[in-house]
C-alpha cells in the first residue's frame, strides 16, 4: 500500500468541519501531495449534519469516496455513532469532548478526546475549536506540517480576516499540546 490517508471529518453544519478538511488538503497540496476533499451535506438544507472525506496520498487518487477510514475527527454524537465502526483497525479517532455523551468503546483503534471547545473559549475565539482539533489530529497523524496549515490559512482567508491568523496559529499549537497531554486510550492488540 502507498501512504494514502483517508480521513473523515464530521459534525454539525457550522462547526467548521468542512473548512477543517479544506485546510488539510490545501496544506497537503502545498507539500506536493495528491489530495481530494469530498463534502457531504445532510438532507436538511439548514443546520443538520455535514461531513467531508479527505484523502491525502503520494499517488493518484482513484475513488474520492471510501467507506473505511484511516482516521476520523468527529464533533457530535450522531457522527460518532455513524463513523466509529468505519475506522480501520489500527486507525485513529479524535472527538470533541463536550459534544459527545457516550464515547466510543472500540479498543482496536486509537481514540483521543480533546476539549477543543473549552480550549477555544479559553482562547476567547470559539470559532477556532476546529483548528484546535486539527492541531491535535496532526500531532498524532502528521500527514502535513503545521506550518503548511498556517500557510494554507493565509491563502484561503479573505483580506478582512487575515487578522485572525495569529489566533488560529495559537489554536493549532494548543491542539498539538492537548494531544500530547491526552492519555490516548491504547489499542488493545
Amino acid at each position: 500500500m502507498d501512504t494514502t490517508q483517508e480521513v473523515i471529518i464530521a459534525g454539525f453544519g457550522g462547526q467548521g468541519v468542512l473548512s477543517m478538511g479544506q485546510l488539510l488538503v490545501y496544506a497537503a497540496m502545498l507539500e506536493g501531495k495528491e489530495v481530494s476533499w469530498m463534502p457531504s451535506y445532510g438532507p436538511e438544507m439548514r443546520g443538520g449534519t455535514a461531513n467531508c472525506i479527505v484523502i491525502v496520498s503520494g499517488v493518484r487518487i482513484s475513488s474520492p469516496i471510501v467507506s473505511k477510514f484511516s482516521a476520523a475527527i468527529v464533533l457530535n454524537q450522531p457522527s460518532l455513532d455513524k463513523f466509529v465502526e468505519k475506522v480501520l483497525p489500527g486507525g485513529l479517532l479524535i472527538y470533541e469532548r463536550s459534544t459527545i455523551i457516550s464515547p466510543p468503546a472500540r479498543t482496536d483503534i486509537e481514540v483521543l478526546n480533546i476539549p477543543a471547545i473549552d480550549e477555544a473559549h479559553r482562547l476567547t475565539a470559539k470559532q477556532v475549536a476546529n483548528v484546535v482539533l486539527l492541531g491535535a489530529f496532526l500531532e498524532r497523524l502528521p500527514i502535513v506540517k503545521p506550518e503548511n496549515v498556517i500557510l494554507a490559512l493565509r491563502k484561503v482567508l479573505p483580506k478582512h480576516r487575515q487578522h485572525l491568523l495569529p489566533i488560529n496559529e495559537q489554536a493549532l499549537m494548543r491542539g498539538k499540546e492537548l494531544a500530547i497531554e491526552a492519555v490516548a486510550e491504547p489499542i488493545a492488540r
Partner: protein
C-alpha cells in the same frame, strides 16, 4: 485537451468553481443561468469574478429564459454557456431541441442530482438518457462529455466549446453534485488558449457584402426538413467516427470488464484495485464521451472478456448503450444506486464477486 500547459496554474478548487474559472479562461462571452442546487456555485463564481473578464453574466428569470438567451447570444456568434441540474435541464428541452435544429453551438452543464421530480440534491447519473438520446423532441443529439475529476471539470469546458463550435451543435458536460462540490487540485489552462471560430452565419447585422443571415429551425416543406435532418444525422455519424473518447485501465487480461462513467468510474477503479488484490482479473472502461459512445471499443473488448459489469448511479441507463455494443457477445451485469445514493468501492467489489465464477473465465456463446 488544452495544449498550452506552459502557463497553466496549479489550483485547489471545487469542481463547480473550476468549471466556472475554466469557462472564463476558455473565452466565455456570455453566461445565462438560473440558480439550482448543486450547481449554483457556477453562476455565483462567474458573478464574483466577472469584473475581471469581458463576459456577460446574467441571472435569467428561469431556465426557459436562460436557454433562449443562450440561443440568441449563440446565434449572434458568441461563445456561450449555461448550467443547471435535473428540473432546470428538463425545462430547457424545447430550447435545446431548437438549438440543435438551428445548429447553434453552446455548452450546457448538467450537474446531476437525484430525481425524478424535485428529488434530492445528492449526486446522481439519472439524466443519462435525457442527455444522450435527446430529451427534447425530434431527432437530434448532444455531444456529451462526462468528467471524472475536478481537472476534467475544467478541461472539458475547453473540449466542450471546441466540439460545439466545430460541429455547430450544443455540447453538454454531464457531471454530478459530488464532482461539482468536491475539491481537488488541478492545472488550470491559461486564458486565450482557445481561439474563436469564424461564425459567418451569425446574425451580427447584414453587411452590404452578404445576404442576410437567418437562424431558424423552421422548415415547412417536409422535404426541406428531411434534408436538414439528413445533414444533422451525417454530422452525428461524423462525430461518432472522429470524436469518441474513453479511458481504459487493465483491460488486457481482464476477465470482468467494469464500464462506468464520471465519478462512478473512479469508484470502480478503486473496486478494481481491491478485486485485483484478491486475485480477480478486473479491468475498467470509462467512456469519456457518452455521445459519441465508445461502442466499437466496447464491442471489441466484449469478445475478449468473460463478462461486463456496468455500474451507474441510476436504474440502468448507460446499460442500454453497453448492451447495444456488446450485442450478446458476453453477459452484461448491472449494479446501480439511485436517488442520490453513491455506490462504495466495496459494494462494487461485492457485485464483481457476485458474478458467477465461470463467467470470469469463460467466453460466452
Amino acid at each position: 485537451m488544452p495544449t498550452h500547459k506552459e502557463k497553466s496554474e496549479v489550483l485547489l478548487m471545487k469542481g463547480n468553481e473550476a468549471l466556472a474559472e475554466a469557462a472564463f479562461r476558455a473565452g466565455l462571452q456570455a453566461y445565462f443561468g438560473y440558480p439550482i442546487t448543486p450547481q449554483s456555485e457556477v453562476i455565483e463564481y462567474l458573478m464574483a469574478e466577472q469584473p475581471k473578464h469581458d463576459c456577460v453574466v446574467l441571472q435569467a428569470e428561469s431556465e426557459v429564459a436562460a436557454i433562449n438567451m443562450i440561443f440568441g447570444a449563440s446565434g449572434a456568434g458568441a461563445r456561450v454557456m449555461t448550467s443547471s441540474s435535473g428540473p432546470g435541464i428538463s425545462l430547457m428541452q424545447e430550447g435545446i431541441s431548437y438549438m440543435a435544429a438551428s445548429q447553434l453551438p453552446c455548452l450546457i452543464v448538467n450537474v446531476q442530482r437525484g430525481g425524478p421530480g424535485l428529488g434530492t440534491i445528492q449526486p446522481s447519473q439519472g439524466d443519462y438518457f435525457q442527455a444522450t438520446k435527446g430529451g427534447g423532441h425530434g431527432d437530434y443529439r448532444l455531444i456529451v462529455l462526462a468528467p471524472a475529476s475536478v481537472q476534467e471539470m475544467a478541461d472539458f469546458v475547453f473540449d466542450g466549446f471546441r466540439l460545439a463550435e466545430k460541429y455547430r451543435n450544443p455540447a453538454m458536460i454531464l457531471t454530478d453534485g459530488a464532482l461539482g462540490q468536491m475539491m481537488e487540485k488541478l492545472e488550470m489552462p491559461p486564458k486565450g488558449s482557445l481561439p474563436y471560430p469564424e461564425t459567418p452565419w451569425a446574425t451580427t447585422g447584414k453587411r452590404k457584402d452578404r445576404k442576410r443571415n437567418v437562424v431558424t429551425s423552421l422548415f415547412m416543406q417536409p422535404e426541406k426538413m428531411e434534408e436538414v435532418n439528413l445533414h444533422l444525422q451525417e454530422k452525428y455519424r461524423l462525430i461518432e467516427e472522429t470524436e469518441v473518447r474513453y479511458e481504459e485501465i487493465d483491460v488486457d487480461d481482464a476477465d470482468v470488464l467494469l464500464v462506468a462513467f464520471g465519478l462512478v468510474a473512479r469508484i470502480c477503479e478503486k473496486a478494481m484495485h481491491l478485486a485485483r488484490e484478491k486475485g480477480l482479473r478486473v479491468g475498467l472502461l470509462r467512456p469519456i464521451t457518452l455521445f459519441p459512445y465508445p461502442s466499437k471499443r466496447l464491442a471489441e473488448l466484449s469478445s475478449k472478456v468473460g463478462s461486463v459489469l456496468t455500474v451507474e448511479m441510476n436504474a440502468g441507463q448507460m446499460l442500454e448503450d453497453v448492451r447495444l455494443a456488446v450485442e450478446g457477445r458476453c453477459p452484461v451485469h448491472f449494479k446501480g444506486r439511485m436517488g442520490g445514493m453513491i455506490p462504495s468501492p466495496e459494494e462494487v467489489l461485492e457485485a464483481i464477486e457476485a458474478i458467477p465464477a465461470k463467467l470470469h473465465v469463460e467466453l460466452q456463446r
